[in-house]
């Protein structure tokens, strides 16, 4: 029947109903980006998923931004400059007086205050980025002051997030928006912001279909001299196998979700394959609670796992571009350990630790989300490799894979004996990884209680509150070295990040926050 169907296709094509040559006649006019949608809303206050970050970035300008792939230096965008108090609790932003929304209205401090308060009070994903912010206020028409309860040196690294984009308060209010304390129920502007835009960015929203595609148009009234190159940008929801075909056949096209293995099948001179380490990382933990497991709570068992995993083998399995995670902080962020500082695979040492543990035939259950892939890498594949590695040192791992939605409750309650999980950065600052430390949210998933590691906790205080980058770097590196020596967490790898695009496109740079800066992309 396939033959019959194909014959019918041939007839249909012969009848002239099919595409002339499969290529679009829109070269230089339309940029097409294929990705598997993780998208719920175009409203920045309700966004925060990866695709939403990418789409909102060129629509809603933020106070600060990053350039290209470099996320170590926040740069001014709507804020012309900013200063921070000595105690790192008060940030003052001076807005660019030339900044205009796309309807010509001036961007004022009132718009910034409205936008950020709305994010906080809508209490969606992005509200967590501003946790600890106690006051957002305006001082005059172009000065904004943000105060935090505790010193927060990460704030300049958080503010570039597209979900914290600045909306035009008057327009959003006119369509049901509010920044009041009850905004989570009272704000009704989402449907408007899913069909229109109210930002100051180089693009405006033309159409938004959460299942198929989002279309952006270059704003005719963008306030900066440098306009975006492409008049139209189409972001399409496509699976990775379809992306491979589309990008090789396409014109001005980008594929964002190919795994390193899939990218290796890309042929021809018409595309560029850009490979780098992703800012995502995969880790494993052993629960420290004896009531959860007498095996995984044994420090010698933890050491045996630490030295028993073949990290280089895992990175090879993950494909070109993947690297061993030297610590919990990804290689491109402040505070990351040098690549050679990671734990070394040592079978003899691991076997010795198993012997020291006093446990006969140590057995544990490793839980992982069987439906989760990170940069095209399946956690199930990694789990099987780890099981095989640890079997060689005398540890039996039972693999317990299940859909993620069904695992989250036990994971968050700290009831998993051993877990294999991914972590994607919420913002490119090491404070995002302080959650892994004793007494913190992720730390408690391994029952790593506050007070159990005084040295690490003391360093954590310095690392999370100091406004001196050098001091923070040193403290975070010390923390990770101590974690690599003992403790419940085992950083495994950063998968390879592959971006494939058609030749001729310029400034296609992977950014951990918004994948690619759509407005920066041009054509040679």
């Amino acid at each position: 029947m396939v033959c019959v169907a194909l014959a019918a296709l041939a007839l249909a094509l012969a009848a002239g109903t099919a595409h002339a040559d499969g290529k679009r006649s829109t070269a230089g006019k339309t940029l097409v980006i294929d990705t598997t949608f993780q998208l719920k809303s175009a409203d920045p206050a309700r966004s925060g998923e990866p695709t939403g970050e990418m789409i909102d970035k060129p629509i809603y300008e933020t106070l600060l931004t990053f350039k290209g792939s470099n996320v170590s230096h926040p740069l001014p965008l709507l804020a012309k400059s900013y200063s921070v108090s000595k105690d790192a609790r008060t940030y003052t932003f001076k807005l660019d007086p030339k900044a205009r929304f796309n309807d010509g209205a001036k961007v004022t401090s009132a718009d910034v205050v409205f936008s950020l308060r709305r994010v906080v009070n809508i209490k969606a994903i992005a509200s967590a980025f501003l946790a600890g912010v106690t006051r957002i206020s305006a001082k005059g028409p172009s000065t904004v002051i943000i105060k935090t309860a505790t010193p927060n040196p990460a704030l300049p690294y958080i503010l570039p997030n597209s979900a914290l984009g600045i909306v035009e308060a008057k327009v959003v209010r006119a369509h049901g928006g509010t920044d009041a304390a009850n905004a989570s129920t009272a704000d009704k502007a989402e449907s408007y912001l899913n069909t229109h835009s109210a930002g100051s960015g180089p693009y405006v929203l033309k159409s938004f279909d959460i299942a198929s595609q989002v279309v952006l148009s270059r704003s005719p009234r963008y306030w900066r001299a440098k306009k975006a190159y492409f008049p139209t940008v189409v972001v399409r929801n496509q699976t990775a196998p379809t992306q491979i075909l589309n990008v090789q056949r396409g014109v001005d096209e980008i594929a964002l979700d190919l795994s390193p293995t899939q990218a290796s099948t890309v042929r021809g001179n018409s595309v560029v394959v850009q490979r780098t380490a992703s800012a995502n990382f995969v880790y494993m933990f052993a629960n420290l609670s004896p009531s959860i497991s007498s095996v995984t709570s044994n420090p010698h068992f933890q050491a045996a796992v630490r030295y028993g995993v073949d990290y280089a083998g895992l990175a090879r399995l993950a494909g070109t571009g993947a690297i061993q995670a030297a610590g919990i902080i990804p290689s491109m962020f402040l505070g990351a350990l040098p690549p050679n500082a990671g734990v070394k695979h040592d079978v003899a040492k691991a076997k010795a630790e198993v012997a020291k543990s006093g446990i006969n035939n140590p057995t544990a259950t490793l839980t992982f989300a069987s439906d989760v892939t990170l940069n095209g890498l399946s956690l199930a594949t990694l789990a099987q490799k780890i099981q095989s590695d640890l079997a060689q040192v005398g540890i039996k791992l039972n693999l317990d894979g299940a859909p993620e939605a069904g695992l989250l409750d036990a994971f968050r309650a700290g009831k998993e004996e051993m877990g294999l999980w991914p972590w994607s950065p919420d913002f490119p600052d090491p404070n995002d990884y302080a959650l892994f430390l004793p007494g913190q949210v992720v730390g408690m998933r391994a029952t790593w209680k506050a007070g159990s590691s005084p040295q690490i906790e003391s360093l954590m205080k310095t690392a999370t509150t100091s406004s001196n980058p050098a001091v923070r770097t040193k403290a975070y590196q010390q923390i990770q070295r101590l974690m690599n020596a003992s403790g419940p967490f085992f950083p495994l790898l950063q998968p390879g990040q592959v971006t494939v695009y058609t030749k001729g496109l310029t400034n296609v740079a992977y950014n951990p926050v918004w994948f690619v800066d759509i407005a920066a992309i041009g054509h040679s």
């Binding site: 019959v4 339309t30 379809t242 090789q248």
Partner: protein, 325 residues
């Protein structure tokens, strides 16, 4: 009404038996640790109330035609269904018509040529059609006709950035025709060719086998022998007597195939970037989006009931004895 109550009750119970929290599945890794964000999420979707209360509220809304708000799209489920069902409907309708024409023709031909080379060839081809995984056929077809030959467009319902036609039914081919947008109509037809053929290939294989078996059975009936004895041969015998008697069996399968195509084409939708009801249901299930799961369950139940009802009516149209009975 009882069916709707039963289905929504089962959907509610089963979804809540899954050891997962919709808030954890929908809020990010950071926001889920913020009690205020979790409370706001639960309140927004009515999850802060006891389960029986949630169900009663849902039923009360259902009576007023309100299927709730989807946690994944933030839109009313009714709007989502109105958007996603026509996309799949367009695919399923055209493919099933194609499968019906091809399947009945080939099945009848195979039966008439029983145990001859044509019969063997068609049986092997139909077996291949139902044996090959649909996602594999989809990828091969996309590779050959889009990537290698460039004869057909790639994924999606229209070319990138093309404006959809004004909404009439949600089926782009029909909507573009009635609104006079010819270029959009051509674009929509071109994008339909590959997914329709892939979906039709499987259905055609199955229908060929059923049609062959039904026609063979009828060919051995006494009334066919009598007709032949009276000198009725050729197309008159086939169309007026054989096929008419074989049609009830074929129509039964056809109804089920159509309902299957409407609800089970998630792989084809994924590969061809087709925003249909299958993909919507899949994402609803993986994010524990209860209103969407219940809405899709209701739609599927209504679809099967309607299709069976239609099939029953068709029995009467095809076979006068059923009408009389």
């Amino acid at each position: 009404v009882f069916l709707a109550l039963g289905i929504t009750l089962v959907a509610f119970v089963l979804t809540n038996l899954v050891p997962g929290d919709p808030a954890a599945a929908n809020l990010g890794q950071r926001a889920i640790e913020d009690p205020a964000a979790v409370a706001a999420f639960r309140k927004s979707y009515g999850l802060d109330k006891p389960l029986p209360m949630q169900y009663l509220i849902y039923v009360e809304h259902l009576v007023h035609g309100n299927l709730g708000i989807s946690e994944q799209t933030h839109s009313p489920v009714r709007h989502d269904l109105a958007k996603f069902v026509p996309a799949t409907g367009e695919l399923a309708l055209i493919s099933i018509v194609l499968a019906l024409i091809g399947g009945v023709s080939f099945g009848t031909l195979a039966a008439l040529q029983r145990n001859r080379p044509t019969d063997h060839l068609l049986r092997v081809a139909s077996l291949a059609g139902i044996s090959m995984p649909v996602f594999w056929i989809a990828l091969v077809v996309l590779y050959v006709f889009f990537f290698r030959l460039g004869w057909a467009p790639g994924s999606g319902r229209l070319d990138p950035g093309a404006e959809p036609p004004p909404h009439v039914t949600g089926m782009y081919t029909f909507d573009s025709l009635v609104t006079g947008r010819w270029s959009t109509f051509v674009d929509a037809v071109q994008h339909l060719v590959l997914p329709v053929l892939v979906l039709a290939a499987w259905n055609m294989g199955l229908l060929t086998r059923y049609a062959r078996s039904a026609v063979l059975e009828v060919l051995h009936e006494d009334f066919i022998r009598s007709a032949r004895a009276k000198g009725i041969w050729g197309p008159v015998l086939i169309f007026r007597h054989v096929l008419r008697a074989a049609m009830p069996a074929i129509v039964t399968v056809l109804g089920l195939l159509f309902a299957n195509a409407m609800t089970g084409s998630v792989l084809i939708e994924s590969i061809f970037g087709w925003p249909g009801i299958g993909s919507y249901a899949y994402h609803a299930a993986t994010t524990l989006d209860l209103p969407a799961i219940a809405g899709v369950s209701l739609f599927v139940a209504a679809l099967y009931v309607s299709v069976n009802f239609l099939v029953d009516i068709l029995y009467g149209v095809i076979d006068p004895r059923v009408r009389v009975g």
